[in-house]
């Protein structure tokens, strides 16, 4: 493995340096039918799950075939996508904001051929490479984060639970039977790298043990004042500790004030939180971001904890499935999950989804908590 230079000269980093050029300009990448009709689209239709047609003022049409994808993608897979795009789409392709792949063609016949091709592609393990779906009143791809594949703070994996959940919900990826769109998201820790806090169903990795303290190294590896300042509950305080026969500067954690957010660990590697028994999943439901009918809203915590169960996170996926089925059975047409829960009342939501209500679900975080308690005699038995 010989080092091959790009032309970059480490001794003269500024030589020929090109910086601040930004991304490629978007319109260089528009397929011709898009370039021509941009801003002049009249309406669209979902021909069947995963397949859309948009019709322009000019009469032009663009057919879009949306395919699911693990967003963790190798170059081999991307090359295969390119190959398909070259074959059917004039060398253009796009990704959606939820990590689906969209192939666009400008006539119906090409579209049918494309679909047949896509449906046939499978990985050796048996899963689809590019399943068609993700439109309309169904489930689409799960927005997610890095998890155990790359991050240092996760309380659960990302790609694994997502794969397991989407296997469970797969039929709804290819169907429009739900009352409205249902957006599932996953974040592997409280940092919530995504819009997880406003999802119909959010899967959240959560720690439950206060940080370990690596006293011997703490002062060497961390800036103690930063670690202290990082804690939102002021649980971290400076301390002196005897390690062996030396007294070292370190920190102490008031464990009863710790909410396991991991901020201290972000600032200081000598305060790890992760723990096999402690870590697991919180389920939140009923959030949304669109302004349609109701205003955007936060997801609410409905299951305080489910242990990590790799590789298939069975309890998590079964619980999600139960929620989806209860929603499908109970909600009105166009009604998002959160709107349904609010209409029937959260007391009914727990009944219908067969979820246990525990004290953890009652807000106790700062002043706004009060507004989530019930200041009324209006409730259902």
């Amino acid at each position: 493995m010989a080092f091959i230079s790009s032309g970059y000269n480490p001794d003269k980093p500024m030589e020929n340096r090109i910086t601040d050029i930004g991304p490629q300009k978007y319109d260089k990448f528009y397929p011709p039918v898009i370039a021509k009709n941009k801003g002049k689209w009249l309406y669209h239709e979902i021909i069947k799950p995963g397949v859309l047609v948009h019709v322009a003022e000019s009469g032009d049409e663009v057919y879009t075939v949306r395919c699911g994808g693990a967003r963790l993608m190798t170059v081999t897979h991307i090359r295969e996508i390119c190959e398909i795009a070259d074959k059917y789409c004039g060398g253009y392709v796009r990704w959606t904001t939820r990590n689906n792949v969209e192939f666009m063609v400008d006539d119906k016949a090409k579209c049918d051929a494309l679909i047949t091709d896509l449906e046939g592609r499978k990985f050796d393990g048996g899963s689809f490479k590019l399943p068609i779906g993700g439109t309309g009143a169904g489930v689409t791809n799960i927005i997610h984060t890095q998890g155990w594949i790359h991050c240092h703070t996760p309380a659960t994996d990302a790609s694994g639970p997502v794969k397991a959940t989407l296997d469970e919900l797969f039929s709804d990826f290819q169907n429009h039977r739900l009352p409205a769109q249902l957006r599932v998201s996953l974040a592997c820790c409280l940092n919530m790298c995504g819009a997880v806090h406003c999802s119909d169903i959010a899967i959240l990795g959560y720690h439950r043990k206060p940080p370990l303290l690596d006293h011997e190294y703490l002062d060497k590896m961390c800036e103690i004042p930063l670690a202290i300042a990082a804690c939102p509950t002021a649980a971290v305080k400076p301390s002196k500790v005897t390690v062996g026969d030396k007294e070292v500067k370190s920190v102490a954690v008031n464990e009863d004030r710790c909410m396991f957010c991991g901020n201290c660990y972000t600032m200081c590697p000598s305060m790890p939180l992760a723990d096999q028994e402690g870590d697991g999943i919180v389920l939140m439901v009923g959030g949304k971001v669109s302004n349609r009918i109701s205003m955007p809203k936060f997801s609410k915590v409905v299951v305080a904890f489910i242990p990590n169960e790799p590789p298939r996170w069975g309890t998590t996926t079964a619980t999600i499935k139960r929620i989806v089925e209860a929603y499908a059975a109970g909600a009105n047409k166009y009604e998002r999950l959160g709107d349904w829960a609010e209409r029937i009342g959260w007391e009914r939501f727990f009944d219908k989804c067969e979820l246990e209500f525990t004290h953890h679900l009652i807000d106790d975080f700062r002043d706004p908590a009060y507004y989530t308690w019930r200041q009324s005699t209006q409730f259902k038995f």
């Binding site: 050796d124 790359h150 300042a229 936060f298 166009y334």
Partner: protein, 437 residues
């Protein structure tokens, strides 16, 4: 044969949804085979080791990655996330395994030519594993070593005219919905302004001068397909001020069952015949619609442009012509003080080149935040700490009822001295003349 046994991960190869494990395995195999004789600049078996370390996490129930340390390219404060494995002996291929953020193109449209170039580069100088795309919007190259960072950057800029995205206390890579490119609901050109502001603020994007991260996201309409309201320090959401355009004939088409409601989005179930009263009029949040005598009427003044009626009848209803966007500020994830959604700051602003008015708002916000924001304090938290009123003052925006969901219910008004006649300086002795002790 695989370098590491992965019995747990193997179970994720079954089931219909695309298996990332299968994909990683095909990549590992491809690198092992190396059909094109690539002179891999990072360990050829790094994907095997990635599978191996992931399997170990599946066994241990915890991650095996540790803190990054500061790595990056010269002169930039962002674009690279350092990452090291905590079992480097066992998995040397991923001992150093940094990610790079490549600023995605607007609308995430690509030519295959460009994509293939990126693939070649990344196979050659990295693991060949990516995220398409990261949550902020970047193309994420997962896994390379420190020496390759400059090489990749050099090739990206010199060969592909392509820059890195943001990380650190910078402007983060702005991102947009597909908008006008393929959507009839777009109220402004999301790609144009996203590109323009990305270019305008390259310095802010690459060189950390902010208290913390800062994000722009551009949604062409209130459907919010890039979820800007949930996760952008400034979200730009398209809207309009005049009438929704109504094609009464097409309305009749929906009522008559000729067109599927909501463009066919509900085709998976028999919901019965379309009932315009129940499905549109009654669900309108502002109750500003009427369907009488076969005519649909909308009272524009009361419409809150929620998009529902248009979504249900896209052939019949179209957004107005006096278009622009609303700007909402302060959205963020829960860390530290709780999640926020964007709060409406500018109800309506035109989105027209050269976007000067918009830039003025942005820069006024930045000036304030850079002056007052504490280290690691997001804009939303600063607004909470100093108050929405302060934000209006600093951006010179007149308070209007649109700014609030409801007026305050606590009467704790912090009057300023200059608002109160006579000021605050009073003489206790004068007071005592009228009020004995």
């Amino acid at each position: 044969m695989a370098k590491h046994a992965t019995p747990l991960l193997d179970q994720l190869e079954s089931g219909p949804w695309p298996s990332f494990v299968s994909d990683l395995k095909q990549e590992a195999a491809s690198r092992a085979k190396n059909a094109n004789n690539v002179e891999f600049q990072v360990p050829q078996d790094c994907v095997e080791d990635l599978l191996g370390v992931l399997e170990l996490s599946y066994k241990h129930g915890v991650t095996h990655w540790k803190h990054g340390g500061i790595v990056g390219v010269f002169g930039y404060g962002g674009g690279v996330i350092g990452r090291y494995c905590d079992q480097p002996q066992e998995f040397p291929g991923v001992a150093h395994f940094h990610t790079m953020r490549i600023n995605q193109p607007g609308g995430k449209f690509y030519t295959t030519e460009f994509l293939k170039n990126l693939c070649d580069l990344w196979e050659f100088r990295g693991s060949g594993v990516t995220n398409m795309h990261g949550s902020t919007g970047d193309i994420i190259f997962i896994g390379t070593s420190t020496p390759q960072l400059e090489e990749i950057f050099y090739e990206l800029t010199h060969k592909f005219d392509q820059d890195l995205g943001g990380s650190g206390s910078n402007l983060r890579t702005p991102s947009d919905c597909i908008g006008a490119a393929r959507c009839e609901y777009a109220c402004y050109d999301t790609q144009a302004i996203c590109y323009e502001l990305t270019q305008e603020y390259q310095d802010e994007l690459h060189r950390p001068a902010f208290p913390y991260k800062f994000k722009f996201k551009f949604d062409g309409c209130p459907n919010c397909c890039v979820a800007s309201i949930a996760r952008a320090d400034i979200s730009f959401v398209g809207t309009w001020r005049d009438d929704i355009k109504i094609d009464q004939e097409a309305v009749a088409g929906y009522v008559g069952g000729e067109f599927a409601p909501n463009a066919g989005a509900h085709s998976g179930r028999d919901w019965g015949a379309f009932d315009i009263q129940k499905e549109v009029i009654d669900l309108c949040p502002s109750q500003c619609m009427k369907y009488e005598g076969g005519k649909l009427a909308i009272n524009t003044k009361e419409c809150t442009r929620c998009m529902h009626c248009i979504n249900v009848m896209p052939r019949a209803l179209h957004i107005g012509d006096d278009r622009g966007c609303s700007m909402l500020v302060g959205a963020k994830a829960p860390i530290l003080d709780g999640a926020q959604m964007g709060s409406l700051l500018v109800p309506f602003i035109k989105v027209e080149e050269p976007y000067d008015e918009i830039k003025e708002v942005i820069e006024a916000i930045w000036d304030w935040w850079m002056e007052e924001g504490k280290n690691r304090e997001r804009l939303g938290e600063l607004i909470k700490r100093q108050g929405f009123q302060k934000l209006l003052e600093m951006t010179n925006i007149k308070p209007v009822p649109q700014h609030v969901q409801e007026p305050r219910h606590n009467p704790y008004i912090f009057w300023k001295e200059d608002e109160v006649p006579g000021g605050w300086t009073r003489d206790i002795n004068k007071f005592r003349e009228r009020h004995q002790r």
